[in-house]
């Protein structure tokens, strides 16, 4: 049995190192906390280690021959090392994988229902849970009988989130929900995510390359690069941070560069000033 979790944090990652195939170092040092009921953004460019970090938490890593080699992950008072993805879902943590990953040959409705697989629900309970989800995603209700593989990217992202929510999770891991979607759709999806967070009380850790929209919809943010946390702070402070602005929201004189260099430069400048 899990000990009572009195901590304020539903998720605590402490100094993890993650290695694929025993040799590929994907994450070298990531620590982060997700307070209960909050939305936390994990930001960074291609290959920064966002997905790897999320998969370490959901324990989906093992199926890709990845391993957490240092540090610890505690979810809801429980160490996740010895658990498998099915255990994690039963404990109330569900990951929405990068690229949505709908079941293409199943209908939209079957996809959503499949999310309740681990719950023991009667036919009528499933019906009412389904209606609850359709209230958040009215578009899916319209398309309920369509084969998921033939729906649009935005609809597939909605299916993936609705499917995960059907497990009645305490915590959701969202991997790049904005990927490949038009700005207006991204906005729509983030609004729903925010609504789910508020109304269902689900804590959220989301990985994003789209810094701007992610920070506008989160409470706290971590910026990682080459498997390390570079900077963290409240979403507001990061949105107003000059370094973040320069690197993610604007363009510096030399064009885009490494965030690490931006940090170094700003340190150097500070050093000169004093």
């Amino acid at each position: 049995m899990s000990e009572q979790n009195n901590s304020e944090n539903i998720l605590e990652i402490k100094n993890i190192e993650v290695v694929y195939d025993d040799v590929i170092l994907a994450v070298s040092d990531v620590s982060l906390d997700v307070p209960k009921g909050s939305i936390v953004a994990l930001l960074g460019g291609n290959g920064a280690g966002k997905s790897t970090t999320l998969k370490s938490v959901s324990t989906m890593l093992a199926s890709e021959r990845g391993k957490v080699t240092k540090g610890s992950i505690t979810y809801d008072g429980e160490r996740v090392e010895k658990l498998n993805p099915s255990d994690m879902v039963n404990l109330g943590l569900v990951q929405v994988l990068e690229g949505r990953r709908c079941f293409g040959h199943l209908t939209v409705e079957e996809n959503v229902i499949s999310g309740a697989y681990t719950r023991k629900l009667s036919k009528s309970e499933i019906k009412s849970e389904l209606e609850r989800m359709y209230a958040y995603f009215p578009r899916l209700k319209e398309r309920r009988k369509s084969q998921a593989g033939f729906t649009s990217g935005g609809e597939q992202q909605m299916i993936a989130v609705a499917r995960a929510m059907m497990a009645k999770p305490k915590m959701l891991l969202l991997d790049e929900p904005s990927m490949g979607l038009a700005p207006q759709l991204v906005e729509e999806i983030f609004n729903i995510v925010k609504e789910l967070n508020e109304k269902e009380g689900v804590s959220i850790l989301l990985a994003e390359q789209n810094t701007n929209i992610a920070l506008r919809n989160s409470d706290y943010g971590y910026i990682i690069e080459t498997g390390q946390v570079m900077l963290d702070g409240s979403a507001k402070s990061l949105l107003n941070d000059d370094k973040v602005k320069e690197f993610y929201l604007g363009i510096s004189s030399e064009g885009r560069k490494n965030f690490r260099d931006v940090l170094k430069e700003s340190k150097k400048n500070k050093g000169l000033a004093t």
């Binding site: 993805p85 199943l106 697989y117």
Partner: protein, 301 residues
Amino acid sequence: MGSEILFFFEVVVGGLLAGTMYSLVALGFVLIYKASATFNFAQGAMVFFAVLSFVGFMELGLPFFLAFIVTIGLMVIVGLSTERLVIRPLMNQSEDTLLMATIGLGYVLEGLAQAAWGVEVRRLDLGIPDFPIMFIADAIGIFISALDLTAGAVAAFMVISLAVLFTQTKIGLGLRAVADDPGAASSIGIPLKHIMLLVWSAAGVVALVAGCLWGARAGVQFALVDLALKALPVLIIGGFSSIPGAIVGGLIIGSTEKVLEVYIGPFFGGAIEGWAPYVLAVFFLLKRPEGLFGEKIIRRV
């Protein structure tokens, strides 16, 4: 003239009934294909292994019914070991790797079956006569045996049960989800282990039933392994992932090969039954690669 038409019908009906036996074997393939997206080359060996063990248990003195139950148990154990020793370790490998593994599994099962029970051809008497039922012959002039009818009924029963399992139950939904994307299925907590175990056991039971019907007609012998490969053209025509497809495909193959054999066979010196189904299959591959009932192939983006 009238007798010629009657003869044609008789050929077709005989073909259709033989076809239900192809359908049964094809069903085993469809089960595995649905869950692993792999053509299970071991299915023929499973048919052979199952029915040979069944006959073996009866030779040891077990009564018919008990032997059947024990063999089902054995096939579940085969399914369990296959899941544990072959599927799970290869889960994250490419589908080709799994395909090769099923070829290997086939050889292992063939070897095990013969090592355990010997190589000689056995007779399997289900107590169902395989000669024409006279009153049907008298009434409509078509020769059908009780075994033919049993095979048809059993095939229909298996198909309906599996269709219900797939579309009406939770585990069926889980199974289709795993077939589409095992990673995503696992991310929502569907236990892949249980699904694979169920599928391989079900395929084992289907193999046993098919083996009994085939064995009763043709004798329990190694040739069953090759006979089972007739399921390949059946699947190409019906669609690899479709249960109704397996049935209709089997009926089409069964009836056309008989008709061709009788009417065109003589011009080729006979024995075109062996390859005609493959010609038909190639035609389908060119015109309709997903088969009659197969789901349109959806590429993930």
